[in-house]
């Protein structure tokens, strides 16, 4: 039996403490230990970006990290962005501007965009495309995603 590690971290503003296996991936920890299934896993090898969460405000691929690496840190997942009654402007914009189809890639796009739009309140289309070029979407052809980001930026500036 592997020695368990006592992990303490903050997820979406709430402190958590769990005894976990050291090799447990952060994505699996969030999905299965905490039951936060909004973080999706599309490839488990760091390419699709569906599993993106924010670690101390920076986007990371939770499928490439062990949960123990988040020890003592703050994690933000899609569940922490906003609720159905109180959506984050980026969530609102994706909804209104048809920024998704199946929605499986969406949480990764949203989390990637939070710090990007905070740092770039008025991005050009080119900048938007580069910012999300590490997130794969098979459904939309990206055009409506880019438009949703433009709308989100507008909402956040307002």
């Amino acid at each position: 039996m592997t020695k368990l590690f006592k992990l303490s971290l903050t997820v979406n503003g709430n402190p958590y403490e769990r005894q976990i296996e050291p090799r447990l991936l952060l994505s699996d920890f969030l999905r299965h230990e905490l039951g936060m299934t909004g973080t999706h896993v599309g490839c488990e090898h760091g390419v699709c970006g569906a599993c993106t969460v924010l670690l101390n405000g920076d986007p990371v691929r939770s499928c490439l990290m062990f949960a123990v690496q988040a020890h003592g840190h703050e994690v933000l997942t899609v569940e922490g962005l906003g609720t159905i009654d109180d959506l984050h402007p980026i969530q609102q914009a994706f909804w209104e501007a048809h920024g998704l189809q199946c929605g499986f890639c969406t949480p990764g796009f949203l989390t990637t965009l939070v710090p990007f739009l905070e740092e770039n309140p008025d991005p050009s289309e080119e900048e938007i495309r580069v910012a999300i070029s590490g997130n794969l979407c098979r459904c939309t052809g990206y055009q409506h995603i880019v438009e949703a980001v433009q709308l989100a930026a507008e909402k956040m500036r307002a």
Binding site: T37, G82, T83, L100, Q101, F104, T106, L136, R138, Y142
Partner: protein
């Protein structure tokens, strides 16, 4: 469009309503298959795959694995003799005597953790006798090729599929029309070409996930990321030898399908494994690597085209031979080859045609349905040949398409009279939008620009009698609950169904809910979510159910108010009388009924409308000629024009603009139609420039997102334009027909034609990678 027609279209038909369920999708609350919680009783399955493209299984020793603590079940083909298959029952759940591709499922284990399941696989010994593989469809069709399915003659098969026992040909569709041999001498220009379209994969971002449970009474429940809960119920029952009613399939949200989650693939494996776990649920989640072979892939195509036209550009003859590499099983793929057979000319009126579409077993992963169902592959070469024909005959490539394309009333290749279609208009619209004939300057001296056009047609490919059903139930708060059995894959089917129900019933869109997830125990029957058939077929069923509920409401009110139903209407959820000007919200009526006019008792009761749709007019086709009265329900047609820039130093092709026009009959939700067109265009573009399952001796070389690249935001053109043409379909709801698959059908050819326009080379095989384009330019002497 005339205002007269517009007035007959009730709200919210034709309005870009926001999608249902997006609130859950943007907050992470949406439940996909892997999100369902099963608690500690859940077991984890892993699959052992064949390491050989073709071999006999000599022995399997599972004893060590079975003894490993934590292992709860080991299941091999010996346990399940039944056959699976949608159109041709040619595969077992697990391999029995023979493996037919690298990745073929040999056995499965279930354990208390994934780690233990993986360890168990390591403890299992399988002995194989390696056989010679078939690695190419054309070779595989030869009489002396090694046989992959010696039992082909014994398999059950649909009556419109024609296998050739004793060969690897599992379907041969023949088309003979007019006199091809006599026509060539009348042609002033003839083009002959061979193309190869490699295997690609669907790449939904959500990998296949399925959880299965057998309870002690023998009831089977399957939760799966599924396009086809009802077809899966039927196929599982068939393979396991149980009744359909003892199989229940629940289909939560699905993270993209594109055909790979239709029919059945890995779901049967986990159901088989769960038969041995004493009621404990078992989950199988494919890794991204497994996704490339344990689910369906797109068939490869080796295609020969010969076509000729007279000096006016009128196409007189075509002779096409399609060798489809169907992979190790063609249970679903045989119908792709049939569809390519009865649509073999593309969207053209051609008087003399000879075509053979052959489905050939190969020792490659299993081919299945893929967005477009054979049409993108077939149009890739066909639409380049038409282009070349135009250039050789000195006719503009857009003009040759306008001259020859199918028009209302013309005779299609199978003898079916073409229904009204807006294809000519689509061609005009895309040519205008791309500024056809005008060359724009390149962005750098080492770059060349070009424009290309391709057109398409595609019919829903399905059994002639694929059916849909629906119910509509009204609640005491006025909410309308729609029961249906098709899936929302992201295309927006639920949104469109809610719009149709609202329009047919006369209630606000916001008051309509879709009863989901689809659950075969409670939901009404739907064949499958494939073939771009839901808007049309399920739409007809939903409209029928809503109309039935409306009739019940109005009959009840007419009796209670003692009025003629003709004077009554439901508007915005309120029953109104145009005669007495009485009004009453339907919420007060639909559950508790209404008092009788004399107050002596009550009328009515809970209202449930029901509806169904099944096309009844599709006929069989002659086995020798492919001719018949009505081969298909209808064709959606369209046109795409693109502008590309080719880098002479690197061979890199950039798609700058993409313009699409499709005749959707009626856009129920224009924003969703545009979304399908954009998504399809980029998926088509991705297959044109990047995608190929690189197969060497039967082994896939690139089963990861690192080596199998799909288009990203920076690859996709920022200038995508979608033009909606509406020539109504006679039996579609408000004239609607499907649009899900069509946008990726012409894309590869349009890009190839633009590359030709830019640098003068013909690309015979996608993907048009920088390396391939550069080498082709080098060979043609365009660069040194």
């Amino acid at each position: 469009m005339t205002t007269e027609i517009k007035e007959r279209i009730p709200s919210p038909i034709g309005e870009s309503k926001p999608r249902l369920e997006n609130d859950q999708k943007v907050t992470g609350a949406a439940i996909f298959a892997d999100d369902i919680q099963f608690g500690n009783s859940l077991l984890y399955a892993r699959i052992m795959h064949s390491p050989h493209p073709h071999a006999l299984i000599k022995s399997i020793d599972t004893s060590k694995a079975e003894a490993l603590p934590g292992v709860k079940a080991v299941v091999t083909g010996a346990d399940f003799p039944g056959y699976l298959g949608l159109y041709l029952q040619d595969r077992h759940i697990f391999c029995r005597d023979r493996v037919r591709y690298v990745g073929d499922p040999v056995l499965g284990v279930a354990a208390t953790s994934e780690e233990i399941a993986v360890k168990a696989l390591d403890l299992i010994d399988v002995e194989y006798e390696v056989l010679e593989p078939v690695l190419n469809a054309e070779e595989g069709a030869k009489p002396d090729a090694p046989l992959i399915h010696p039992d082909l003659g014994n398999y059950k098969v649909a009556n419109f599929i024609f296998p050739q026992p004793g060969t690897n040909i599992s379907n041969h569709f023949k088309l003979r029309k007019g006199d091809v041999d006599g026509a060539w001498e009348k042609c002033s220009t003839i083009v002959e070409r061979k193309f190869w379209v490699p295997h690609i994969q669907h790449v939904p971002i959500e990998p296949h996930t399925a959880i299965a449970q057998w309870d002690e009474t023998g009831e089977i429940t399957l939760w799966a990321s599924s396009q086809s809960p009802f077809a899966q119920r039927n196929l599982l029952a068939q393979a396991l030898g149980v009744s359909q009613s003892s199989v229940r399939v629940i289909a939560p949200k699905i993270g993209g399908g594109f055909g790979c989650k239709a029919g059945i693939s890995m779901e049967a494996l986990v159901v088989a494994i769960a038969s041995k776990t004493n009621g404990r649920p078992v989950k199988l989640l494919l890794t991204r690597e497994e996704e490339f072979h344990t689910a369906f892939v797109r068939q490869e195509l080796i295609a020969y085209y010969k076509m000729g036209c007279d000096e006016n550009g009128k196409i007189l003859a075509m002779e096409n031979t399609y060798y489809w590499g169907g992979g190790a099983s063609t249970e679903y793929g045989v119908n792709v080859t049939r569809a390519a057979g009865y649509s073999c000319t593309g969207p053209y009126e051609v008087p003399n045609v000879k075509a053979d579409s052959l489905c050939v077993y190969t020792n490659h992963p299993v081919g299945g349905a893929y967005r477009g169902f054979g049409m993108p592959e077939m149009h890739t070469g066909l639409e380049q040949c038409v282009d070349e024909l135009a250039y050789k005959a000195g006719i503009d490539p857009v003009d040759i398409r306008s001259i020859n394309c199918v028009k209302e009333g013309c005779e299609t290749v199978t003898g079916f009279k073409m229904h009204p279609t807006g294809l000519s208009q689509c061609i005009e619209e895309t040519a205008k939008a791309i500024q056809w004939g005008q060359k724009s300057p390149a962005s750098a001296p080492n770059k060349r620009r070009g424009k290309g056009t391709a057109i398409m047609w595609k019919a829903p490919a399905m059994p002639p009698n694929a059916g849909s059903s629906a119910w509509v139930e009204l609640a005491e708060d006025g909410t309308v609950n729609v029961g249906l059995g098709g899936q929302d894959l992201g295309q927006g089917a639920f949104t469109v169904m809610a719009q149709m129900a609202a329009a047919a019933l006369g209630v606000p869109y916001e008051s309509v809910r879709i009863s989901s997830p689809v659950d075969t125990r409670y939901s009404p029957y739907e064949w499958q979510t494939v073939a771009s058939r839901l808007t049309w077929s399920m739409g007809n069923a939903v409209v029928a159910a809503a109309t039935d509920a409306r009739r019940q409401v109005l009959d009840l009110v007419s009796e209670a108010w003692d009025e003629d139903p003709e004077d009554l209407d439901i508007r915005d959820g309120i029953v109104v009388s145009y005669k007495s000007e009485q009004e009453q919200p339907i919420k007060d009526i639909v559950v508790y009924g209404l008092p009788k006019p004399d107050d002596q008792g009550w009328l009515g009761g809970p209202i449930i409308g029901r509806g169904k749709f099944m096309p009844s007019y599709v006929t069989g086709l002659d086995a020798e000629t492919g001719q018949g009265t009505r081969s298909v329900v209808h064709y959606t047609t369209g046109s795409q024009s693109v502008e590309v820039e080719v880098d002479l130093d690197t061979g890199c092709v950039e798609v700058l603009r993409g313009v699409s026009a499709f005749d959707v009959g009626r856009a129920i939700n224009p924003a969703l139609v545009e979304a399908q067109i954009e998504g399809g265009f980029v998926q088509g573009m991705s297959s044109a420039l990047f995608e190929e399952m690189i197969m060497v001796d039967g082994f896939m070389q690139n089963p990861s997102f690192v080596d199998y690249r799909i288009a990203t935001t920076t690859d996709a053109p920022s200038d995508l334009q979608s033009i909606i043409v509406e020539v109504p379909q006679d039996d579609g709801p408000w004239g609607a027909r499907g649009i899900g698959e069509h946008p990726m059908v012409p894309t590869v050819a349009a890009i190839a034609n633009a590359i030709y326009d830019a640098v003068g080379i013909r690309m015979m095989s996608p993907p048009f990678s920088a390396e391939k384009v550069y080498l082709a330019m080098l060979e043609a002497g365009i660069v040194e």
